[in-house]
């Protein structure tokens, strides 16, 4: 009966509503460094079997197809898109971008992530009062493994394979003070988004594989650049229009189903 139509349309509205939230978040992060856009994945729900195929009628003929009525749609999940964002030239020594596969590792509270390590593509680092290299945000997350910059360093350079050099007064040659390690995941789309541009390892992402940048399959470090958000505003706006229209159509279905039900309800006057 029309009640199924009513419910199908309702599942459509709630799924599209989630899609709208995801699109809004993507658009809000159009200027967030290292941000990776998500997309909403829809899937159809189960089907109600009203008539089985293969049932014989009085003449002995078999019904060739069954009668199935679908029960609507649901959001099966959101999927992260890890394509590379555009490089933004900033010229700062400690703005680092990974060109290719990999995440920077930063220290978080032990109860937030396994091993107290979270992962990020946002490489806007700075140095804190103790000389440690930290993320330049309100939390000041330390880089893992940590590198301490000497207080008297004049110039700091990070090269493509992640080695950090400083030039100290009275010396001609820059001295190596540490090596930035990056981590890769077999299934980065399975990472948990934790806010603050951070991702946290899950069972689905697999354990991190750490290594030196520019070796094996890891990406190269580009100092003086930041990775821009990979949100494509045109795409998101088109998706927004489509979602809004689909939302409207489903609400119209609710109205149509309601009218049907009213006709039925008014049968006996």
């Amino acid at each position: 009966m029309a009640l199924v139509a009513l419910h199908s349309a309702a599942t459509g509205l709630s799924a599209l509503n989630t899609d709208l939230d995801v699109i809004a978040n993507n658009l809000a992060n159009v200027n967030t460094e290292g941000f990776k856009s998500s997309r909403t994945n829809f899937q159809d729900l189960i089907y109600q079997e009203k008539e089985l195929p293969g049932v014989e009628n009085a003449n002995g003929d078999e019904r060739p197809t069954g009668l199935y009525v679908g029960l609507g749609v649901k959001v099966s999940g959101t999927q992260l898109d890890f394509t590379q964002g555009a490089p933004l030239n900033t010229g700062r020594d400690l703005d680092l971008m990974i060109d290719g596969i990999g995440f920077f590792q930063v220290q978080v509270e032990d109860d937030r992530a396994p091993g107290g390590v979270a992962y990020t593509r946002a490489g806007n680092f700075t140095v804190n009062s103790e000389g440690e290299i930290v993320l330049a945000n309100d939390q000041g997350r330390r880089l893992v493994p940590n590198i301490t910059v000497p207080q008297d360093a004049i110039k700091l350079t990070v090269n493509a394979d992640g080695r950090v050099f400083v030039l100290q007064p009275g010396q001609n040659e820059p001295a190596e003070i540490g090596q930035i390690e990056i981590a890769a995941f077999i299934n980065p789309a399975g990472l948990k988004q934790a806010g603050e541009n951070l991702y946290i390892e899950t069972g689905a992402s697999g354990p991190p594989i750490t290594g030196q940048p520019a070796t094996q399959n890891f990406g190269r470090i580009q100092a003086g650049f930041l990775e821009g958000s990979n949100v494509d505003p045109t795409r998101e706006l088109i998706d927004l229009i489509r979602t809004q229209r689909a939302f409207e159509m489903n609400s119209n279905v609710i109205r149509a189903a309601d009218e049907t039900l009213r006709s039925v309800a008014n049968l006996r006057r």
Partner: protein, 257 residues
């Protein structure tokens, strides 16, 4: 007597079934590679013919009218959805005839076909569907393991290429009478009950970095949902008239002044 009452009622229930099917199509207007269902409605034979009886006394005139309508079957549409570029290497869209093969459960009954090409890599390095994590199979029904840190290319015939060498080939199959496939939800389809999945090589092609959009024609579906509402309304009006008529017959005609 009251023949029209039942004919109108059958029309109303058939239109409501149509509305149910159409609203599911509309709810899935954003579902990747969704194929809309079409509901077949057919004229219903009078009881004598339907039950194969020879001697049921019935009115010749009414028999010629038939017995209204009934929903008989749903068929899965095979129309192509629009192919949209996503830029994600693990998205594949299918152009033309063909399905990917997925294992939802062990054994031959666990095989499903789908045109939903949103793939991802599991924590074991297997190529799986993004919505349920079911393994996508190669031409010999085995899961495909890839090296997730190397760029992946999927060619139009389903060949999975990494570092210039073909590491596997996606099963890319066509099934006879695809409109008879049974949807099991999550974009997957199974062989009709009691049958094993028959397959042959597909004639279409696979496009990497694309996804097939839902094939629901939103405008047409919306119009049909509304027209179904109106059809139910007119059925109800007719029933109202018949009711009124019977009311007259009972209360006025039989009254002796």
């Amino acid at each position: 007597m009251n023949y029209g009452l039942y004919i109108s009622a059958s029309g109303m229930s058939a239109q409501m079934a149509r509305q149910d099917v159409l609203s599911n199509n509309l709810a899935n207007v954003s579902t990747t590679a969704f194929k809309p269902d079409t509901l077949a409605i057919r004229q219903r034979e009078p009881a004598r013919i339907e039950d194969g009886l020879t001697f049921l006394p019935s009115n010749k005139l009414l028999e010629r009218l038939g017995a209204g309508v009934m929903p008989v079957a749903t068929r899965v549409s095979t129309s192509q959805g629009a192919l949209e570029r996503t830029g994600n290497a693990l998205d594949v869209g299918i152009e033309g005839d063909g399905f990917l093969l997925v294992r939802a459960a062990p054994g031959p009954e666990g095989l499903r076909v789908t045109r939903d090409g949103r793939l991802t890599v599991s924590s074991e390095g297997r190529l799986v569907t993004a919505s349920d994590g079911f393994p996508v199979l190669d031409a010999s029904d085995n899961p495909i393991t890839i090296n997730p840190t190397r760029p992946l290319k999927i060619r139009s015939d389903g060949a999975v290429v990494q570092d210039d060498s073909e590491i596997a080939r996606l099963a890319f199959v066509a099934v006879p009478e695809p409109e008879r496939l049974v949807k099991t939800g999550s974009g997957l389809m199974a062989a009709p009950e009691g049958q094993t999945l028959q397959r042959r090589p597909a004639a279409g092609r696979i496009l990497q970095e694309h996804l097939e959009a839902s094939a629901t024609d939103a405008v047409k579906a919306m119009m049909s949902v509304t027209s179904a509402s109106r059809a139910v309304e007119s059925g109800a009006t007719i029933i109202g008239y018949i009711n009124e008529m019977m009311g007259r017959a009972i209360n006025s005609l039989g009254r002796v002044s």
